[in-house]
Symmetry: C2
Subunit: 377 residues, 2 copies
Amino acid sequence: MESRSITTVIANDNKCQITWSDGQVSHFHALWLRDNCPCPECLHPQTRERVLDIMDVPQDLMMPTTIKIEAQNLAITWQDGHLSEFNASWLKDHCYSEHALQSRKEKLNFWNEDIARSIPEIDYDAIMQEDSGLLQWLDMMVEYGFAIVRNTPTIHGEVCKLAAKISFLKETNFGREFEVISKANPNNVAYTAISLKSHSDLPNWELPPGVQFLHCLKSEATGGESTLVDGFAVAEILRLENPEAFELLKSQAIPFRFHDEEWDLSHEAPTIGCNASGDYTDIRYHAALTAPLQIPSDNVLPFYQAYRALTNIIRAPENILELKLMPGDVMVFNNKRVLHGRAAFDPTSGDRRLEGCYVDNDAILSKRRVLRRKLQD
Amino acid sequence: MESRSITTVIANDNKCQITWSDGQVSHFHALWLRDNCPCPECLHPQTRERVLDIMDVPQDLMMPTTIKIEAQNLAITWQDGHLSEFNASWLKDHCYSEHALQSRKEKLNFWNEDIARSIPEIDYDAIMQEDSGLLQWLDMMVEYGFAIVRNTPTIHGEVCKLAAKISFLKETNFGREFEVISKANPNNVAYTAISLKSHSDLPNWELPPGVQFLHCLKSEATGGESTLVDGFAVAEILRLENPEAFELLKSQAIPFRFHDEEWDLSHEAPTIGCNASGDYTDIRYHAALTAPLQIPSDNVLPFYQAYRALTNIIRAPENILELKLMPGDVMVFNNKRVLHGRAAFDPTSGDRRLEGCYVDNDAILSKRRVLRRKLQD
């Protein structure tokens, strides 16, 4: 474990420099320290929410001369007499040097068809019986964006029990849980027997469902193989091969829409979502729900060209993981990262029945943090 | 009503130009028209989802020579013999000239304290009994970001019935419905009696709740006045007064976090959210849930400065609508646009009891579209 003892503190105007016993150095601004004072007057002791009003602190706050350093504690008495005591370990965890910020980023593992040789998978019992199994599953979900849960009881409603290990279910216009079978009067192409090319679900919502669960109950029909594509990996290929196309798909919002008698859900967003740091946040890709383009005329043909370039990468066999779900398998995937699809099936050759539900990505990440706290204590 | 009859069509290479009987002109690309062919082979007749695979159409598609124009219909026979027939009115609705794109943008009405003279309000019965009342309410919500529903029965659970006129409820870590009362062991400062400065709820979720409902059941305590601030209006003031601060709050993501025994919900996002077109999408502003800043060191002091500038505008009395909710009032507001707060109250002076719930903004907009379709037919 890295060292978390403080060796020296040097206060300099509105900042201080802490040297740790491993030789590493952190800088903290006086204002940042005052803002994060953990005393019960500044941080509500029960809710752990900030009560301090930063407007009561001068913007040009300087480091005071009264600083007490102990190996595991930094005690600062501010100019107005207020005392802030920081735990050294907490301070190190919240260092905001460029190196520290980089090292705390989530590690993602991009993949292609080769992942067929080592599919992220875990047994149903391991998840249901042990926190460590549950955490292992959530780690896979974050790293690869999907995992197959094996040997799940083939009972109606079981998929919701599995999802409930993480959180409440995310409701959508298709309900809280849904069945993927061929229906007589479908309101969605998923409820037919035709093939579904790789796509993301519900891009027409401001926030599409984060994680999708698809539980195979029956797999007797000919065809219907499932496919998965790592949307971040294919976006990255496009970025390297065709930067112009990438930039357009990242910056040009396009409209998505689903409408039936009861709903008319529409949202505009780019195909490739990135945050301000340039990290991928989501892929919205579903021709069925792409509304007629309402974008500047000059962008129309370039958009089709960029979309075609991305589609060629998405459909390249080397980027597709194909698998035949068998009864007891639950395919769980991050719908904002991983595209999914299925081959056409012949509904007269036997039953094909999947049950599905969604939970928010926030809930996955939250449960993972809670379990880490619990298991590391 | 504007004219929707076609006068002439001129095909030119990969585009066509339509002149309407009112003299207006639209341009459509051949590829766009082919992509949006409404025939049952290209658009699933039941699901109304696109079935056509654009990869089956050449990227350099030209306008064909066989175009039949009637006043209300445009029939195009493509080079491969496929026939696409477009309704003129539909085409005009989907024109993507710059003028057309601009004219279809939602009109928002920014406000300050002066709105106290004409508060957007509507009677409970008008919403529950007539689609036109429901639509009027939703229109207010979109234009002003809030509306007060008056004369709601002061019955436990009534607020959920009101929300159910729009959609299912959005569940969060605080449940599907919640009570705002002073609690003995609060896990959230809202459940105390202390004052709450203007803030947005749950910025620590990837997508904070869109619309919040707060139903006043009892209002006997001294104090506890509600406040609302138009977050888009104050952002716009900041943009004009202090463009540098505005740009930093728009571009620098900061971490938000809530954690208790069961949850550890954390998300990074900018304070002021704008889409690629520069339109405001959301304000995330809640000191209680702002985690210790984990941002590049050079941005720390400028961030505090920008945050202070925004806070001064948010707290300026001329930007605050103050109102005392009385039993039967439901304050409904867009939590991504409108900040809310309350004065401290004295829990020993009488009961103060609010019941609340959330729905997604998507659901508001969806219901509004469905009602418009229905009422305009």
